[in-house]
């Protein structure tokens, strides 16, 4: 058996899960089973990548001149490896922490599996058509989850999300098609390996690159909640059911950043450099503007939404650093942010599920009442404010060092962002965890996370945060050769 079959297997297993649930299998057990089972091909494929650099599945891309240029080619290299594992781990945790006995349980779990499936497909696709389409596949169930199972102003939030993300996707699509069209007719391809090679040898004209870079920035940027295209994010995450927020903020949002690294950086490098001052301005907006706004949030889920959008600014700083260190930091922070955001939303979900509220004013004394939950709340808060030992810090410090020579002022902004997010997060922890118990927390029936059965998703995310934080090599090591090709002219 060829190990390249593990790649389609990674997509097939959740798909089988979806079908099985649709046919009447127990939703949670099936979804969980599929997510656990998916680790096996994940491990096998990773083994190959770690040994030989990459793993491919699908037809040979070279005779590209066909009626329909898109080809279903899956590939895994050192860069997509960390995204693959981020998705596998967060999906597992999200489904593990999802509730049973919810209304329309079947559809709920199908949606969750589909988000994971879409994200996996996007990260594994080598062909830009499938790369884009898989992401769309993952977006639809996200909207449905927010709209049908969300809290608060869920339909408004769902629609805002749909509008922004669809518009963003359309701009992105125009950009991708533009890229395809800009290639000389004989060299046209949708395979990003071919595209990168070709465009490295024969770069596009500066004007074309400039235009494409802007389209890609707006398209991918909207998906990553880059200011000013961010307004969907805080409210969307606040309204989303916890597992959906975990999957979107944790995994799917990284598609935009991954796309910029895969497409914008290697294919329109000069254009990207040209617009990096715009990116610099916008990312400062993310850090300062959203950071300040996050100070004023009264609902913990809104706070997480703002803080999650805010931290994207630091990743963008890594993307415009133009150094190997900065790029590697961006990838590490993507993983760290994915894990910490997932943990944060999981904790927020448990808090509001157990106490019936996520208003920080109405909470208080959680540390005494629910010590386990408090522990993971502190971990999530500390990860997000860049405590050493947890993944985010490793990413941040690589970005700071990598960007210092080119953008010292922006590094200053990002470092101040660390202070801002600490203020917001610690205020929240204090309001919710310290002091005497509030009526909502003291109410009968408020219980702590109980035993391994309820804590394992939290422990899993925590262990992953620690692993990447203590040994960041697991992320930047495999990605290094891929990123090196991008920074060496």
């Amino acid at each position: 058996m060829s190990l390249s079959l593990t790649l389609p297997a990674i997509l097939l297993i959740p798909l089988i899960g979806v079908v099985a649930i649709a046919l009447g299998a127990k939703p949670k057990a099936t979804a969980l089973g599929a997510s656990v089972l998916n680790l096996i091909p994940g491990f096998l494929a990773s083994g190959v990548v770690l040994r030989s650099g990459e793993l491919l599945f699908g037809p040979d891309p070279i005779p590209a001149r066909e009626v329909f240029p898109a080809k279903f080619i899956l590939g895994l290299d050192g860069l997509s490896l960390s995204m693959l594992w981020l998705t596998l781990v967060v999906t597992l945790a999200a489904i593990g922490s999802a509730r049973k006995g919810i209304k329309r349980e079947k559809e709920y779990y199908i949606c969750l599996l589909l988000i994971g499936l879409g994200a996996l497909g996007a990260f594994l696709s080598v062909d830009l058509f499938y790369f884009f389409s898989f992401h769309e596949v993952a977006l639809i169930p996200t909207f449905l989850l927010v709209g049908m199972w969300g809290h608060g102003d869920r339909s408004g939030a769902a629609w805002r999300m749909t509008l922004y993300l669809m518009l963003g996707s359309m701009v992105l699509l125009v950009g991708l098609i533009g890229l395809f069209l800009a290639m000389p007719e004989t060299a046209r391809s949708l395979d990003w390996r071919v595209l990168s090679e070709t465009l490295k040898a024969n770069p596009l004209s500066l004007g074309t690159q400039h235009g494409l870079a802007i389209l890609l920035l707006i398209g991918f940027g909207t998906l990553v909640s880059l200011v000013p295209f961010h307004s969907w994010a805080p409210g969307g995450y606040a309204s989303a059911p916890a597992p959906a927020a975990m999957l979107h903020a944790g995994v799917l949002k990284k598609f935009g950043l991954y796309g910029l690294i895969r497409v914008a950086l290697p294919m329109v490098p000069d254009g990207w450099k040209e617009i990096s001052w715009i990116v610099g301005l916008l990312l400062a907006g993310n850090i300062l503007y959203l950071g300040l706004a996050s100070l004023q949030q009264r609902d913990f889920r809104w706070l997480l939404g703002f803080s999650s959008a805010m931290h994207m600014g630091t990743v963008f700083l890594g993307l415009i650093s133009g150094t190997l260190l900065g790029l590697a930091g961006a990838v590490t922070l993507m993983v760290g942010h994915g894990l910490s955001a997932a943990l944060g939303f999981a904790v927020a979900g448990e808090i509001s599920r157990r106490t019936g509220t996520s208003w920080m004013r109405d909470l208080g004394g959680l540390a005494k009442r629910t010590p386990q939950l408090w522990f993971y709340l502190v971990i999530a808060a500390m990860a997000s404010i860049g405590l050493p030992g947890l993944a985010n810090f490793a990413g941040e410090i690589m970005i700071f060092f990598g960007s210092w020579t080119a953008h010292p002022l922006l590094v200053g902004v990002a470092a101040w962002g660390v202070v801002l997010s600490a203020v917001a997060m610690l205020r929240a922890v204090r309001a919710m965890a310290f002091g005497p118990m509030s009526p909502a927390v003291e109410a009968e029936g408020v219980t702590d996370l109980h035993g391994l059965r309820e804590t394992w998703p939290f422990a899993l995310l925590t262990l992953a945060l620690l692993l990447v934080g203590v040994i960041p090599l697991v992320v930047y090591g495999p990605a290094r050769p891929v990123l090196e090709r991008m920074v060496t002219p």
Binding site: F68, A70, E107, I177, G235, Q296, L325, P388, A422
Partner: protein, 601 residues
């Protein structure tokens, strides 16, 4: 073999913290001995290391790589030079005594498993700072120390003030770390290295003056936060909300002097610029005096000691600014002994009076707690630099270097006057006279586990000055002992006792009312009303704008958007979601496919 000792010393407390967190929270009877044993192991290891000679070619255990990429080489390399060895022995020694003391002090707390796990975490983090061989590693443990301080200050979760103080400590430190981080980045780009071993030669090789100054001031920010110096000193008095053993270990003896330790490590960078050095010296001189003034009008026994800590650390900071790290470290060591002792004695008084911290609600403890009274006097005399106690020798070494800097000498010697004043005030009010409350009437000494550590520290406070710290470090200053600094400082210090004696003998309430000092110069109020309010105001602005953009653009915005939004809502709500979703996906895919096909054809 001995090269691996730092790893062992460092990792034992970490293992203890992890094991207790994972398995032993429900079993404090097991958790507590585990933590104490780990600390004991680290202490014995540190003693071995202290006595071991350095093998030829230095002592280098292989560094554990962390990030090695694109010009950045940050690994967990441990350095075991005399400075690190001395500090490690001091930290683990004091920590061991505080662990033992806590056996008694925390005996009735149901959460003492967590308490000892967090203590172990602190010892680990602090030792990390001590052994770090480069700036990034130091920064990592620097932050972890911040975390353990946060957790330990907020140990009593149900006290709102503890939560507030924990936040304040962490956040004020974060502001300092902002500068520290930029300083590290600057040092890296200026000198091309973050390793303490390489920095001296690169710094001496010459770099633009203002760049070096900026880097030095950035690094100084880290010290101002961690060591609570002007203008970031506001968190330390509040941190007294934590349990007293924590105040004693973290916020008096070890953690707060990490800033000084760091400054000594980066001294080769600092000393290039006289602007940096003068800034450090003057911050130190001012900070010896201001907290000593504030302490004269405080009523909480721990806060009085906290302000005294601020003042004493400032002597060390000033010593760094005067480029005499030897006496600075000397004072760091003696201060650890007598200040830890004073805090443990205060804890004993608080414990004896059933958690009463207001000295005006104590009184008469001298008869009921004679041992505590005695060791408080020992600590006080050492703190006031009365010969032949330890504090005298170390402070004298610092004063000697101020002989040609009259401004610095005036500030720091005047501070000695007020130190004597407020310490005697504290003793007279808390221990003399008659008990003023029921709690004070029933005061009693603690169990032997609390008494023995105090006894050991009292002995060290008396004789600790005999350790030849500066010689051991090879940092003996060239300043000769100046007769005038010795006599003037001594006379000023003794003079401080007199007004306290006349003002506070047999009083039941404070005869002095100095609002400016009671209000701590209103620095907290200034920060709260100006800085925090500004930041929150900007936050409100951003939040309001955000709401306005969202609502304005999407709800009341263009008719098309609103209408399509309305339609969308109907789709979601009418239950045929799956159908519409399928149509949507197919539509998107169709459009894309068609476009691609057109292009290709």
């Amino acid at each position: 073999m001995i090269a691996y000792a730092p790893y062992l010393i460092l990792l034992l407390p970490l293992i203890s913290a992890i094991v207790i967190r994972l398995f032993l929270y429900p079993f404090p009877r097991v958790a507590v001995p585990v933590s104490v044993a780990a600390c004991l192991g680290s202490f014995l290891g540190s003693l071995l290391l202290l006595n071991a000679g350095t093998p030829a070619g230095g002592m280098a255990a292989p560094a554990v790589p962390w990030i090695e990429l694109g010009g950045l080489k940050a690994g967990f390399g441990l350095v075991a030079d005399p400075l690190a060895r001395l500090m490690a022995a001091l930290v683990t020694g004091v920590a061991l005594l505080v662990h033992i003391y806590s056996l008694g002090y925390m005996a009735k707390d149901a959460c003492r498993g967590r308490f000892f796990a967090e203590l172990s975490l602190f010892v680990f983090s602090m030792l990390g700072i001590v052994f770090a061989d480069n700036l990034v590693t130091m920064f990592i443990f620097w932050e972890l120390v911040g975390l353990s301080s946060y957790l330990l200050i907020g140990f009593w979760h149900d006290r709102p003030a503890a939560g507030a103080a924990a936040n304040k400590a962490f956040l004020v430190n974060r502001i300092g770390d902002f500068g520290f981080m930029l300083g590290i980045l600057g040092a890296w780009s200026l000198f091309g290295t973050i390793s303490f071993a390489d920095l001296p030669s690169r710094a001496a090789a010459g770099a633009p003056f203002w760049a070096v100054t900026a880097v030095g001031l950035g690094l100084l920010c880290g010290c101002l936060g961690k060591s609570a110096q002007l203008p970031l000193h506001v968190w330390l008095p509040d941190s007294m909300e934590g349990p007293t053993p924590v105040s004693s270990l973290l916020h008096a003896a070890t953690m707060v002097v990490a800033g000084v330790y760091m400054l000594i490590r980066v001294l080769p960078i600092l000393e290039v610029s006289d602007v940096t050095m003068n800034t450090i010296a003057w911050i130190g001189a001012l900070m010896t005096l201001l907290p000593a003034l504030i302490a004269c009008q405080q009523n909480d026994i721990k806060r009085i000691l906290a302000y005294s800590t601020l003042s004493e650390i400032a002597y060390m900071v000033m010593a760094v600014g005067l480029n005499i790290p030897g006496p600075g470290m000397y004072h760091l060591v003696t201060h650890a002994f007598f200040k830890c002792l004073l805090f443990l004695a205060a804890g004993s008084a608080i414990h004896g009076c059933h958690d009463e911290q207001d000295i005006w609600k104590m009184g008469g403890l001298r008869k009921r707690m004679p041992f505590t009274f005695l060791v408080t006097w020992v600590g006080t005399l050492a703190l006031a630099a009365i010969p032949p106690l330890s504090g005298f020798w170390s402070k004298d070494a610092i004063f000697a270097a101020t002989s040609d800097r009259p401004g610095l000498a005036a500030c720091s010697m005047l501070a000695g006057f007020f130190t004597s004043f407020f310490m005697l005030r504290m003793i007279l009010v808390a221990f003399d006279g008659k008990p003023r409350t029921e709690n004070a009437k029933h005061a009693h000494e603690g169990p032997p586990v609390m008494v023995v550590p105090m006894l050991i520290l009292a002995v060290l406070s008396v004789f600790g000055g005999m350790f030849p710290v500066a010689e051991f470090l090879g940092m003996k200053p060239e300043h000769p002992h100046h007769a005038w600094t010795l006599w003037v400082s001594l006379i000023v210090a003794v003079a401080g006792f007199l007004p306290a004696h006349f003002l506070y003998r047999d009083v039941i309430k404070d005869p002095l009312h100095l609002a400016l000092l009671q209000g701590k110069f209103y620095v907290d109020e200034f920060y709260q009303r100006v800085l925090v309010a500004t930041q929150d105001g900007l936050g409100r602005l951003a939040d309001a704008f955000e709401g306005w953009v969202v609502r304005g653009f999407l709800v009341r915005g263009s008719g098309v958007l609103a209408r399509s939004a309305g339609q969308g809502l109907r789709l979601v709500q009418c239950g045929q979601v799956q159908f519409y979703a399928a149509v949507f996906i197919l539509g998107v895919m169709g459009v894309i496919g068609w476009l691609l096909w057109k292009v290709a054809a």
